[in-house]
């Protein structure tokens, strides 16, 4: 009774002439930010920041478009962005959004100790009521990613309790957040975008099973579902498998064994340092079989860190694949099985390595086991080894690891393959180094625009002679991209959907302001 009467009231008050009324939405897609809704602490980097508006936004095809910004230009030395703001942006408390707020947000994020990493920013300055200058320490075109994800907070009212009482210039305002239970938002009446038809949107958190139960009783309109359950959608809902770059792949240590990191972790692996081994692994794995094994077939084969994204280069794929091609690669590189035990050797070294995966992750476990099985017939022994993340941090420089990545930002590719980041935390754990690749990265970061940087990112993967991709150094064997599965109400039109990044659930909300209700 109560939701209906509330709906009737809301509709009669706010939309007296509306032809059709959308009901309040209930979503169970997880993603509760335990630390609250503060962009400076890291909120809103995936999916929709809900409450805050960003300078730019990524369209469904990942091209950049203005949101708060009406103009954005980069100086010739590639160090200073000049941003012009729209003049009709208001926070949900009715106050105007000005250049001061933008400068405050960027400077606070630079100095913050949360999950927003803006160390590249030197200073943000408001140079007029609607113009801001963002000065960088060094050229970095991927800073556009921060322009598209950092939500702007109001300088005047930002304080210690902001994370739990967010005020922003985005499409929604906070109605109530009961931590651990649900978040209720309503359209922000001051938002500069088009009208949102839903009087209220509720995000239910908690266990996955609880979300499924809500969908089965008709109480939720979108629910994130695990691959195993996806195909049994309840009545009135359909299954949506969203393609993603939520990828999984095997990272190889690139150096021969020797030396340790500052923390004392061993570096290098004599077996995987040989390109022939890495290429043979890439050729031997059956990605379709891995998909069936690990995610019920809900996914796509992966060949690079950013399959299908604008900075992906499909030309790096190997032409010869399959176990026979893998055996040929190994033979010609001198890996032979002289003693007939099924395991190849070369100069006394056995073609054998540990294949480390996080023990808590059943998908990666299945992948590790699947890869090990596929390598057995070609004469390579991979020994699956489940560890905790802490242990993986110490093992990852000397043993191959099943990692998962996937971002809407090409800087991830940089982080994985740039030689100067070798061994820096979780970046480039295999100590991969190729000067040609580094040069392409440097050229990409020094580009005049995001669009102009794309060819350089592609060239880093494969430029015709070298690259980090399989045809080049084969530094990783990418295995699968995992589809993100949802049950969606038949009445809900989600419009165009982005290829989703790492993380199943919250990213579906990316296009939320544009969703439409199609039933009466």
């Amino acid at each position: 009774m109560r939701p209906l009467s509330f709906l009737a009231l809301a509709v009669s008050l706010s939309l007296p002439l509306a032809a059709e009324a959308a009901p309040p939405l209930v979503l169970a897609v997880g993603g509760e930010p335990e630390t609250g809704f503060d962009p400076i602490m890291g909120w809103g980097r995936y999916g929709n920041p809900l409450f805050q508006a960003t300078l730019l936004r990524r369209e469904a095809d990942l091209s950049l478009a203005g949101d708060l910004a009406t103009g954005w230009t980069l100086s010739d030395d590639r160090l200073t962005w000049t941003i012009t703001l729209r003049d009709d942006a208001r926070f949900s408390d009715g106050t105007r959004l000005s250049a001061e707020d933008v400068a405050f947000t960027f400077n606070a994020a630079r100095d913050g100790d949360g999950l927003t990493d803006l160390k590249v920013l030197k200073e943000a300055r408001a140079t007029g009521p609607l113009t801001v200058e963002l000065e960088l320490r060094h050229p970095q075109i991927t800073f556009t990613g921060d322009l598209a994800t950092l939500g702007i907070v109001p300088k005047a009212s930002y304080g210690p309790d902001y994370a739990r009482h967010p005020v922003g210039a985005g499409p929604f305002r906070l109605v109530e957040w009961r931590e651990g239970e649900q978040l209720i938002v309503a359209p922000n009446p001051y938002w500069h975008g088009p009208e949102i038809p839903f009087p209220r949107v509720t995000f239910v958190f908690g266990a996955e099973a609880a979300g499924l139960a809500l969908a089965r009783t008709g109480a939720a309109q979108i629910v994130a579902v695990p691959p195993a359950e996806a195909d049994a959608a309840p009545e009135g809902m359909q299954v949506l498998h969203v393609p993603s770059v939520d990828n999984r792949g095997v990272m190889f240590p690139m150096r021969p064994a020797g030396g340790t990191t500052a923390e004392g972790a061993p570096i290098g692996n004599d077996v995987t340092a040989d390109r022939a081994i890495r290429v043979a692994v890439d050729q031997a794995v059956d990605r379709t079989a891995l998909l069936a094994l690990a995610v019920n077939g809900h996914g796509a084969p992966a060949h690079g860190p950013a399959d299908g994204l604008p900075w992906d280069n499909p030309a790096d794929r190997l032409s010869e694949t399959g176990p026979d091609a893998a055996r040929a690669t190994l033979e010609s590189a001198g890996w032979t099985d002289a003693d007939g035990d099924g395991l190849r050797e070369k100069g006394g070294l056995k073609a054998q390595f540990q294949l480390v995966y996080p023990a808590s992750d059943s998908v990666r476990q299945a992948l590790a086991l699947g890869v090990a099985e596929a390598l057995k017939p070609v004469g390579i022994r991979a020994i699956p080894d489940g560890r905790s993340w802490d242990e993986i941090g110490r093992l990852m420089h000397s043993e191959p690891v099943v990692f998962g990545w996937g971002s809407h930002d090409p800087s991830e590719v940089f982080n994985l393959y740039e030689s100067s980041l070798a061994g820096r935390g979780w970046y480039n754990p295999g100590f991969y180094a190729n000067p040609a690749v580094d040069a392409h990265f440097a050229a990409a970061e020094a580009s005049e625009s995001y669009e102009a940087s794309l060819p350089e990112w592609r060239a880093a993967q494969w430029d015709g002679t070298t690259g980090f991709g399989a045809k080049g150094d084969a530094a990783w064997t990418w295995l699968i991209n995992i589809d993100h599965s949802y049950w969606v109400s038949d009445c809900l039109d989600l419009g165009p959907i982005q290829t989703e990044p790492h993380g199943h659930g919250w990213p579906i909300t990316q296009g939320l302001p544009g969703w439409r209700w199609t039933c009466e």
Partner: protein
């Protein structure tokens, strides 16, 4: 009358004074030794976006760059001034997290406590009144099954039966989805409370049935009860009046002393039913190696359990004058 109470309180306060620091030091050691890096778990899936410099900034902001003993000393110093510190997982003061979630947990625990006490005591007395006959055997069988049933299994059973099968009760959350706290009425909240509380009450019910049955049975076989029976008192009246008087004290003592198990069980019940209480927060804190929050929750739990035990002792002495002399 006050003599025994004063003695009891002093004795217990002394115990608390050495128990608290010992428990805190032990827990802090465990958290420090746990193979979980708080920053790695805080960063989670966003490894690609948070660089080494930012990680160092986070570590510094949390004081994680100091050695463990120094951090513990710092924590103790803050506690002495009434400051529980800040939770890493929730980016909020620990006191605020505790205050925001304690209500939901206490409601759940209190209802479960009452439910299992009412059910356990009445079934125990009924079994005593009918001892040796079929109701007694059925109740004892039920008690053994309950005691042997894991809480999560009972929860799944209850959800399958009442939420999915019959559709009578909701299987999740503390209120209907989409309504604010003000809009959700009391009836709706109670409906959401039933299954989690029932699950949680299972922990204490089995032992309580057997315990109160044994107590009441011992009375019913005593010369006093035989005397009353010879004068025409019916077995039902004997069990429910004087029998209740005999069983009530020990039952309450046993039940109050089980507060710790109830709190432990609440972690599980809250996780299964998406109940937004301290149990859920405990799980998050443990997975994130959130030492300040874990220590805060442990401190609060320890005090609650301590008070439960103290209440058990006082109740037992109030209900049974013979204990006061001891």
């Amino acid at each position: 009358m006050t003599g025994w109470l004063g003695r009891l309180l002093v004795e217990r306060l002394i115990r608390l004074a050495w128990l608290l620091p010992l428990a805190m030091a032990g827990l802090f050691t465990l958290v420090s030794l746990a193979p979980v890096d708080p920053i790695t778990s805080y960063v989670g899936a966003r490894v690609a976006e948070v660089g080494p410099d930012q990680r160092a900034a986070i570590a510094q902001a949390w004081g994680l760059d100091a050695p463990a003993p120094e951090r513990f000393a710092l924590w103790l110093g803050h506690i002495a001034r009434g400051d529980l510190g800040s939770s890493i997982t929730f980016n909020a003061p620990v006191a605020q997290v505790l205050a925001g979630r304690a209500g939901a947990s206490l409601t759940l625990i209190a209802l479960a406590f009452l439910m299992s006490f009412a059910v356990g005591l009445s079934l125990g007395l009924t079994a005593a009144a009918t001892r040796g006959r079929w109701p007694d055997r059925a109740i004892r069988g039920f008690a053994v099954v309950l005691t042997a049933s894991p809480g999560f299994w009972v929860a799944l059973l209850l959800i399958a039966l009442f939420a999915v099968g019959l559709g009578w009760l909701p299987s999740c959350c503390a209120a209907p989805p989409g309504l604010t706290a003000d809009e959700a009425d009391l009836a709706a909240r109670l409906r959401h409370l039933i299954l989690p509380a029932a699950t949680l009450s299972v922990v204490g019910t089995g032992p309580l049935i057997l315990h109160s049955r044994a107590r009441a049975a011992a009375f019913l076989e005593s010369p006093a009860a035989r005397h009353l029976a010879a004068h025409g008192a019916r077995p039902g009246w004997l069990a429910w009046r004087p029998g209740l008087r005999h069983a009530l004290g020990p039952a309450l003592a046993v039940h109050l002393a089980g507060t710790g198990e109830l709190i432990g069980g609440s972690v599980l019940a809250e996780t299964v039913f998406a109940w937004p209480g301290l149990g859920q927060a405990t799980v998050r804190a443990a997975l994130g190696a959130d030492a300040p929050l874990l220590l805060g929750i442990a401190l609060a739990t320890l005090v609650v359990v301590f008070l439960g035990n103290l209440a058990a002792d006082i109740a037992a002495r109030l209900l049974d004058p013979r204990l006061r002399q001891a």
